[in-house]
């Protein structure tokens, strides 16, 4: 280490002599670069967070008091017997290019979501909520709903888009707007090669105090934390559990809670003949030793109190009302039982390796590459366990781009299993994950899983009139999925951010993160 320090010192001296002082932009590391800055095509939490900086949601919950409020709507009133709301848009708000925000923009956004030509799963979801929008005057829009909602304003949490930036309401993801967006948010964003630069934009409804933000892709978490300690960056959006102690140990840094419901999974490709039989998937579920995986990749010691990583047995976190607590988790592996199931499914073991119809099985396992930062080495740990269970394997790191283009679109048939993570806010609608792909449903069904009983349960949830009907549908779904195992459910991993103490007023909003960015201050 001495040599190391000497070299480090000499290198820094070399650089120091060449360098002048550095700028005072607020730099932070994100999990990855955003895939699109058009809110209509958000595909990850990174996208969501970026949109919160650049755009305004029509209505939002105050991150402190949880009051439902709006920055762009002056007042509202019910219309059409409660099936519509009339919104009076605030005057004086300008888009970042100087155009005035008006009711036409609000209606354009709703009409764009209703336009079948807009290939967006987000828009697809909203089509069940909105039936139309009429511009009554420059500042008045009447938003029509498909039904009467008890708290209609809760439905208006979408980002408003500028009508003048689009040729039609059929919005496409390959438009330059996805990289050079125009919003009414506190910051204008411009996507570069390695990051996104956000410039403060004073507006009638925003007064950001930090001149410039710079988002960069966080690579190795250890490097991220060290850079944070060296004040090379001022924040890290997601600090992996093993590195949180380093952050807590410094008075220059503060660890901040980020309330988000994220759970990890291994999706299994049932189109592969050797994975079709659910007993094989159940066996794979028994082969995984989650306690060991958690210890080696997340750094949770056995028996650790209040672990940031909690096992799950279904597609919900344990704090969710939809989580069926009667379904037990599988913390340890049970190879004996697994082997029985594999033999029952017709697989044979030769030379310690499982064969299907005489052919050895080699599992092709992929993982979304940036997840390796949050759970270092998880992919090879899973590989090791499957290998110990008698399966050959090949491992693949899937880039964010390929993940969005192949895996999320159901085109990743080459893989047998993929490791991923889903994040939710208050709404925990898992229909897009498990419903058969058709007519816009099952838009995020990774391996095109299809099961009529599951579809029926998802339909029950969709059409549920009462909370209990919805809860029961999802409890049954949880039970069914625990038996069917289109996913091997791993764990819920809580998310913590780290910021330098020079960053003030940095309240982190649940799920959206940057909602209160106007109050953030930074004085280096």
């Amino acid at each position: 280490m001495m040599q190391n320090h000497k070299l480090l010192l000499s290198l820094s001296v070399v650089v120091g002599t060449l360098a002048l002082s550095t700028g005072s932009t607020l730099n932070f590391y994100e999990e990855s670069l955003p895939s699109s800055m058009n809110p209509m095509f958000a595909q990850s939490m990174v996208d969501n967070r970026v949109h919160e900086l650049v755009f305004d949601r029509l209505y939002y919950f105050d991150p402190i008091t949880n009051e439902l409020t709006s920055r762009v709507v002056e007042r509202w009133e019910l219309a059409d017997g409660g099936k519509a709301v009339k919104l009076f848009v605030k005057k004086g708000i300008r888009w970042q290019d100087g155009e005035a925000l008006g009711a036409d923009d609000v209606c354009f956004t709703i009409n764009a979501m209703l336009d079948e030509g807009t290939p967006s799963p987000i828009a697809e979801k909203q089509r069940a909520v909105f039936s139309g929008c009429e511009v009554e005057s420059k500042d008045t829009a009447v938003v029509q709903f498909t039904q009467i909602f008890h708290n209609p304003l809760n439905q208006l949490g979408f980002y408003v888009l500028p009508e003048h930036k689009f040729e039609s309401t059929a919005i496409q993801p390959d438009d330059a707007f996805s990289n050079r967006p125009e919003g009414t948010g506190a910051y204008s964003g411009s996507m570069g090669r390695r990051g996104v630069t956000f410039g403060a934009k004073k507006n009638a409804h925003h007064e950001p105090r930090i001149g410039q933000l710079s988002l960069q892709e966080g690579g190795d978490p250890l490097v991220q934390v060290r850079t944070l300690l060296n004040n090379g960056v001022q924040g890290i959006v997601a600090v992996p559990p093993p590195y949180r102690a380093d952050v807590s140990a410094s008075d220059e840094l503060s660890l901040k809670s980020y309330d988000l419901r994220s759970w990890w999974f291994v999706a299994v490709n049932q189109d592969k003949p050797y994975l079709k039989d659910k007993r094989v998937r159940q066996a794979l579920n028994l082969i995984l030793d989650r306690t060991d995986l958690r210890e080696k990749s997340i750094g949770v010691k056995p028996g650790e109190q209040n672990s940031p990583c909690e096992f799950i047995s279904g597609p919900f976190v344990q704090t969710s009302p939809y989580y069926n607590r009667s379904i037990d988790v599988q913390p340890r592996s049970d190879l004996e039982q697994a082997f029985v199931l594999l033999e029952q499914a017709g697989l044979t073991q030769t030379g310690g390796r499982w064969h299907y119809k005489g052919q050895p099985i080699t599992l092709r396992i992929g993982m979304k590459a940036p997840l390796n930062n949050e759970a270092p080495d998880l992919l090879s740990q899973i590989g090791n366990q499957l290998s110990a269970g008698g399966f050959d394997r090949q491992e693949f790191r899937i880039t964010v781009d390929d993940w969005n283009r192949q895996v999320l679109t159901g085109e990743a048939e080459d893989y047998d299993m993929v490791v991923g993570k889903w994040s939710f806010g208050l709404v925990e609608d898992v229909n897009p994950l498990f419903h058969t792909r058709n007519g816009g449903r099952g838009a995020l069904n990774i391996f095109n899983y299809t099961n009529p009983q599951v579809d029926a349960l998802l339909a029950q949830y969709q059409s549920a009139k009462t909370d209990t009907q919805a809860r029961d549908a999802y409890h049954k779904l949880h039970e069914k999925l625990d038996d069917e195992l289109p996913y091997l459910f791993l764990w819920k991993l809580d998310t913590k951010s780290a910021w330098r103490t020079e960053v003030r007023g940095n309240t982190i909003a649940p799920y959206y993160y940057w909602t209160a960015v106007d109050n953030w201050k930074y004085s280096p």
């Binding site: 806010g425 909370d467 919805a470």
Partner: protein, 426 residues
């Protein structure tokens, strides 16, 4: 063993010596941090195995292990059950209060609204709601309605719906009780499971009595005062807090606790009264004499932590990993004291910001379940289902029988989540 555990939790930090002292060193001389930093003192304290359970925030176990040696375990439980009852009550009101109730909700939920209103101190709504619960909740409903007819009502008069067994120091209440009702939902006929917060409330009282039986009488009232519920008679007379009441707690000494209690009754006057004896008061006064300066409080809380670490190092003779862990209680404590001042001044938003910062400071061994449940309860009153459930969940094992709170939170989360607009997994 605990020493080992403690040693593993904190990392040594060479940059702890504060540039300037946050408070005069005399103010922290008697703090529990400096008391246990004396050579050999920590081993002496840790001779009581129950501290291992306090350190791991398992207070039911701690109460049993302490037995009659200390009331700390029962006291913590008494505070936690109170805040859990408040959380349940707010969750129930955010789900079934008149402005949130749906036509399809079971009619009997009005009884829960009544009990919840009592816990939150809204006697008018309580009286208007109780006595009409109907089937399944009839007896409990009648019992509650009955006690409310009295001219004066204190929460202690709550009907003993559940027989918890005899109070005993180091004992545990009857665990076989089920406070849940399975009510039929209109139209669907499906079952809505709801939980009666009366049991949680009774558990709070049971542990308070057990704490007194365990010898906590002299200090318990002042200790418990910050956590009492609206309709409780608060007797927060300043009394000397022994080390076992303070150790691994957020108040560095008796003066801090007295200051916080005085804030609730005397407001700003407490600043001058305690600035000379309480480190928290000294800092809060410096940072919030007129308007609360958040940045000042954040900086000074860190400075106090560093000052305590430096003082502990001097007292112990060398650095020790536990010193940072102990000091982190104060790093959160200053902010919580500041929040109490904001409460007294009616600055709810600033108080919340301070509490959210305190939540982030109070991690690991410095996590305080009663504080986190109080914050969760406040969030539930604001219909913030996401944060209140996330705050409750890690603390559900701090005392026995908290799972019942989850039942109330589930119905609450369902209601709020379902009425929030469409969302997609990301």
């Amino acid at each position: 063993m605990l020493l080992l555990a403690l040693s593993c939790t904190g990392a040594e930090d060479a940059e702890n010596t504060p540039a300037t002292e946050a408070v005069p060193s005399a103010l922290i001389e008697d703090s529990w941090m400096l008391q246990v930093a004396q050579p050999g003192k920590l081993d002496e304290v840790l001779a009581q195995k129950a501290w291992g359970e306090v350190f791991e925030r398992r207070y039911s176990g701690a109460a049993m292990t302490f037995g009659t040696e200390s009331a700390r375990g029962h006291a913590e439980a008494a505070a936690i059950y109170r805040q859990a009852a408040l959380l349940q009550a707010n969750a129930i009101l955010s789900t079934f209060a008149s402005d949130q109730r749906r036509d399809t909700d079971p009619a009997q939920v009005i009884y829960l609204v009544g009990v919840a209103s009592v816990i939150t101190g809204d006697l008018d709504t309580a009286k208007a709601s109780l006595g009409q619960g109907g089937e399944q909740v009839g007896d409990a409903d009648a019992a509650w309605a009955q006690v409310l007819t009295a001219e004066t009502f204190s929460l202690r008069d709550a009907p003993p719906l559940f027989s918890l067994g005899e109070v005993a120091a180091g004992g545990t209440p009857n665990a076989e009780l089920d406070p849940t009702y399975r009510l039929p939902e209109a139209e669907s006929g499906l079952v809505v499971e709801v939980a009666d917060p009366t049991l949680t409330l009774q558990l709070a009282f049971w542990h308070e009595d057990a704490a007194r039986a365990a010898g906590g009488e002299p200090w318990l009232d002042a200790w418990l005062a910050p956590w009492r519920l609206p309709l409780e008679s608060v007797d927060a007379e300043a009394t000397e807090q022994p080390l076992d009441a303070l150790f691994l707690g957020v108040w560095t000494g008796t003066a801090d606790l007295d200051f916080v209690n005085a804030l609730a009754t005397d407001g700003d006057a407490a600043l001058d009264a305690y600035a000379a004896t309480s480190p928290y008061a000294a800092i809060v006064k410096a940072c919030a004499a007129d308007e609360v300066d958040l940045d000042c409080l954040l900086d000074q809380s860190v400075a106090l932590g560093a000052q305590l670490e430096a003082a502990m190092e001097t007292a112990y003779g060398s650095q020790h990993a536990d010193h940072r862990t102990f000091a982190s209680f104060a790093r959160a404590g200053v902010l919580r004291a500041g929040a109490r001042l904001c409460d007294a001044r009616g600055e709810e938003r600033v108080a919340a910001i301070l509490r959210l910062n305190a939540r982030d400071r109070g991690t690991g061994p410095a996590t305080d379940p009663k504080f986190q449940l109080a914050l969760a309860a406040w969030d539930a009153s604001n219909r913030n289902a996401l944060r209140s459930t996330e705050l409750f969940h890690p603390n559900r094992a701090s005392v026995d029988g908290l799972d019942v709170v989850q039942v109330s939170l589930d119905t609450f989360s369902l209601r709020v989540g379902r009425e929030t607009g469409a969302g997609l997994p990301q």
